[in-house]
């Protein structure tokens, strides 16, 4: 019994240590625009050419950083500029995700 418990604990510990941290970006159904050129934590993960349409989720990418900023490109009427996603809850651009989990961060861009 003791041996079984030890083996199970070891397996659980191994699983916890080896779990990947993954991130996907969801474009909410209230945005109205696709999100393009997404970058997480200064290039820790890049979605490059992937365009995330309204109410869609991007592909999931393995990340190393659990705290960072989300950057994307926006058209301002004359040019494409880089834009930083500002969290409305905190008023800051910093987002924290859970280590060892599959995270989905939903962006509701306000026009």
């Amino acid at each position: 019994m003791k041996k079984t418990f030890f083996v199970l604990s070891a397996l659980l510990l191994f699983a916890a240590c080896g779990a990947k941290t993954e991130l996907a970006i969801k474009n909410s159904d209230q945005t109205g625009e696709p999100i393009k050129d997404i970058v997480w934590a200064e290039g820790d993960a890049k979605w490059e050419e992937e365009v995330v349409a309204e109410n869609s989720v991007s592909s999931s990418k393995e990340v190393n950083e659990t705290t960072g900023q989300i950057t994307c490109s926006v058209y301002d009427g004359s040019a494409y500029n880089e834009a930083t996603v500002i969290s409305e809850q905190t008023g800051t651009p910093t987002v924290t995700i859970d280590e060892g989990s599959s995270n989905v961060v939903t962006i509701k861009a306000v026009p």
């Binding site: 058209y75 995270n103 939903t106 509701k108």
Partner: protein
């Protein structure tokens, strides 16, 4: 009387600001204003740009004037430092609205020194394509010069436009003079960099004797694009 004086001061400040002040537009990077002692400066906290490929400006960390101006001389003091293996910075001008069109003096170098100055132009390849088409711009080197300049030094860069020629001088020494026949009447201008960090202590622009921009970066006039968002985090183990 006090209230009247305050009002006069406020109006004077606004007049001076609107006369020689400028609103900057951050195209890419993370540009800030700071001050050490009495000297304030513009700087970018990011070393490298992301290759979004809409333009040379978005690919490098860049900042430009929001409005167009008529000018015949640009003067600025800058310092490039912390270079990585491939380092570049540029002062661009003659950008008449379309952000993919400009001329520039681009400084490139290794990790140890600035080795080359190029006069470059960026042009739209196919004007009929929509603006979200990537890689629809072409950067060409028109002239170049080999140099040996140190990093982490302050340079006073002057660019003057005289009789179809554009002249670059550094610390009051003429470095390059290039032909530039078709200048736009008014245009935007600015800076970009990649593979290094950049500090700019002042940026002055003149039209003849008339100052057009006199910015010593004592106030933050940078307009930054942001996407306001509600970040909802769903995590599944």
């Amino acid at each position: 009387m006090k209230r009247f004086l305050s009002l006069v001061c406020l109006l004077c400040t606004q007049f001076l600001f609107s006369e020689n002040g400028v609103i900057w537009q951050q195209v890419s990077g993370s540009w800030k204003i700071d001050k050490i002692g009495e000297e304030s400066f513009l700087y970018d906290i990011r070393t490298n740009g992301y290759k979004f490929n809409y333009s040379e400006l978005i690919n490098n960390n860049s900042i430009r004037t929001l409005a167009s101006f008529k000018y015949d001389r640009i003067s600025l003091k800058l310092n490039a430092y912390n270079p990585v293996s491939k380092s570049a910075f540029a002062v661009f001008f003659d950008s008449p609205g379309d952000y993919r069109e400009f001329s520039a003096f681009r400084f490139t170098g290794s990790k140890t020194e600035i080795t080359k100055i190029e006069y470059i132009t960026s042009r739209v390849k196919d004007t009929t394509l929509p603006r979200d088409r990537k890689l629809n711009f072409e950067v060409k080197t028109i002239e170049e010069k080999t140099v040996s300049l140190p990093y982490s030094s302050n340079f006073i860069i002057e660019i003057s436009f005289k009789k179809n020629r554009t002249v670059l001088s550094i610390n009051e020494k003429d470095i390059m003079s290039v032909e530039n026949k078709d200048r736009p009447e008014a245009s935007q201008l600015g800076l970009y960099h990649t593979g290094n960090l950049l500090k700019v202590f002042y940026f002055e622009v003149f039209d003849g004797r008339k100052p057009v921009i006199m910015d010593n970066f004592s106030t933050d006039t940078i307009r930054r694009s942001t996407v306001k968002a509600t970040v909802e985090k769903n995590s599944n183990n």
